[in-house]
Symmetry: C2
Subunit: 433 residues, 2 copies
């Protein structure tokens, strides 16, 4: 017997319909916001990913050498491919670029609950626009997308951090710039490791600097607690000019989110710094605030990435939202659903001698875009009606001896039970609602 | 600079919209015929594919050993995974199983024009139903799908062969059963190689048999020319009982296709035998009869496969249709199109001081499912109207000082040019058609 690989899913129609429900909501919101869909290749040159994230990423990739001796990898994320696609068109493309993608990504991760090796992600990005409005628009799309599933501020929130503000804070605490990347990736771990482990990580990151690790960690821990604009304002009292200026950007952002009616979903939270080194400026993660409290989506500014990959200067902001935690949350709050593509009509064929006539009517109706199915082999009336019900057909279209001698068919509404004789000439115009 | 791998495509929004047009037609027809969508994993155990097709298939696969020491491969086709998925559910599943999939397959093939290494395929299959009606239904879906793109019998046809009839023919020509598979795979090449090469292949396949290769080849070449039911009927005059019986199945099939209004698309053609060993009974290929004459789709019965993979007995019939030749044909006959997901409304913001008000209206409208976009940075009127046109918006929603002092916005129909003042209270109910 054959099995799917660990961490991979197969979607039978029932699972597929659930997945389609999620994809269609994702797509509908992206369209309504003026985003356009793209799709990068599933398999790319390994270097596209190592260039962006360093050689370490290899351990998490499905990577191999193909029959043409190329080092290749299944995509672990869409962003590098997006950067290439937009980067290559950079000179001629209308800005802002508002693109989204829905596709599967692959990571060879240690098996654990809720972690898959193949998972779908909704990615939306705005490129070529540095204005704060782009940050607000991308956060708005994230929030409105979650709301379109019936989720409310009681079930999720957007935690908003700021790598720029962190940098100004680090400067105020005497940290030289060369330590920034290392220290930010340590701060990213603050919620994930014990206090002792965190101190140890910080000490390691600060090695050879003149910063006192214990004092520094205490000050970080305090700043991470800044979970409202008001608390940040207090920091501003004794802060550097750049820190103060950045806070006015925060105020502007919240005023925009207010106008959009979305500020109730957004929480200032300096604990959000995002692990990846390429983020700049605002970074955010959507969390469920019921159940496991897991992250639903994450994103932020990445103004330097496109240029880093060798293309034009292209400021950018975006997010990714996975299908697995979202589906789990929807299940938890009983808001999951399936795409409905049930057939409308089931044809009931009284006897095999009537099949030819039935087929000609069925195919005329199909050509009129009526969704209609029928038995592929001889079967009695009762069984055919049972099938009609199993398939959730709304109508039975009954071909019987009696009806056909009158040049008619019987239409039975399976919900109301009402039956109606319709002449064969008129059946093409019948309104199967 | 980074490039896509040879034979792989990246879909920017323009290409994606073309692809979506094709996918949406595929999906719509499958739904209307009562098929349900499934999706197998992109990566599977190598053995799933070698079990079905033999070790030789490895040379055509993207296959590698993953970090957990598993021999794995990107799927070259969907059928083995489908057989597993249905096979595993075989005891409890309602029959017939009517499933379809739209997904990418991967084959490491020699690079040539029109051949990609990653291509999309529409697969539709009926499992658990041995009746001839299932063959007719699957051929009908194939034909109606092509017709839904506006293609007619002048642009494509379905060439219908029959491996059963071939077997009876081979028996009549004295070939022992043990040679069947080898000989059929040679016959499959008849249109693809020269007469000399064909004779050579036949001689090799017939080695150690008592059949005279030259006579045998002549007789095959004659039979391949049987391209109508009438010609086959002539063969029947001196044929075996099983050959005669099989011909009555042909007649029954054509009579069904007649009832469906589809026989004009179908040509009897004993030259179609399909290369893969697992086919049984009717086999078919859809060909374009304009331009390059390439195959658009292919399929047939494969009654033994599910059982061969270790599951229950599950007769099956299906087809696969690729996106590349189809798109090429649609381009050729000027019947290609793109999915339309243009925004409906573009908001024009008179000055930055009005942005907050504009945002609140825009987001109210978005919540009412109006597709609306707006400038992310300060921009003059003329430029914003230009953007509205570029984005193919049907309406401009104009936020100006004058309008807002009257607590109103201006709605301009960009097609008719008609302008209308609408109060902010009423704009939520405006019918952006």
């Amino acid at each position: 017997m054959f099995k799917t690989l660990p961490g991979f899913r197969e979607f039978c129609p029932e699972d597929f319909a659930k997945r389609s429900y999620i994809f269609s909501k994702w797509r509908a919101k992206a369209w309504a916001f003026g985003f356009q869909e793209f799709d990068p290749p599933v398999l790319e040159s390994l270097s596209l990913f190592t260039e962006k994230s360093g050689e370490e990423i290899k351990s998490q990739l499905f990577e191999f050498v193909d029959k043409g001796d190329r080092a290749v990898a299944l995509r672990p994320e869409m962003t590098p491919s997006l950067a290439r696609m937009v980067g290559e068109k950079a000179s001629g493309i209308r800005r802002p670029v508002k693109w989204f993608a829905i596709g599967e990504n692959y990571r060879y991760e240690r098996q654990q609950k809720g972690r898959l090796r193949a998972f779908f992600q909704f990615n939306a990005d705005i490129l070529g626009e540095e204005s704060l409005c782009a940050d607000a628009e991308i956060m708005a799309l994230l929030i409105e997308t979650l709301c379109s599933f019936g989720l409310t501020e009681k079930e999720f929130c957007l935690r908003l951090g700021d790598r720029d503000l962190w940098l100004y804070f680090l400067r105020m605490n005497g940290l030289p710039e060369s330590y920034d990347t290392k220290v930010l990736s340590v701060i990213d771990k603050i919620e994930k490791v014990s206090a002792e482990a965190f101190l140890e990580m910080a000490q390691k990151a600060l090695q050879d600097s003149e910063v006192d690790a214990e004092k520094f960690v205490a000050s970080i821990k305090e700043f991470v607690k800044a979970q409202s604009l008001e608390v940040l304002e207090k920091y501003a009292e004794n802060a550097s000019e750049e820190f103060k200026n950045r806070l006015s950007v925060w105020r502007e952002l919240f005023s925009m989110l207010d106008s959009m009616g979305l500020s109730k979903y957004v929480r200032c939270d300096m604990g959000i710094v995002r692990g990846l080194a390429y983020y700049t400026g605002f970074v955010f993660e959507a969390f469920q605030i019921v159940g496991t409290g897991r992250a639903l989506a994450g994103g932020g500014r990445y103004d330097a990435l496109v240029k880093k990959l060798g293309y034009a200067d292209m400021p950018a902001v975006g997010f990714g939202m996975g299908d697995v935690t979202l589906a789990d949350l929807l299940d938890l709050v009983n808001k999951n659903a399936s795409e409905d593509n049930n057939i409308k009509v089931y044809a009931v064929i009284g006897s095999e001698s009537l099949r030819a006539k039935a087929l000609s009517v069925i195919f005329e109706l199909r050509r009129k875009s009526v969704w209609i199915d029928y038995p592929l082999k001889s079967s009695n009336f009762a069984k055919q009606f049972k099938t009609a019900n199993t398939l959730k057909a709304k109508y039975a279209l009954i071909f019987g001896e009696e009806e056909l001698t009158q040049n008619s068919v019987k239409v039975k509404n399976l919900v109301s039970g009402i039956e109606e004789m319709v002449s064969l000439e008129k059946i093409n115009e019948y309104n199967f609602e």
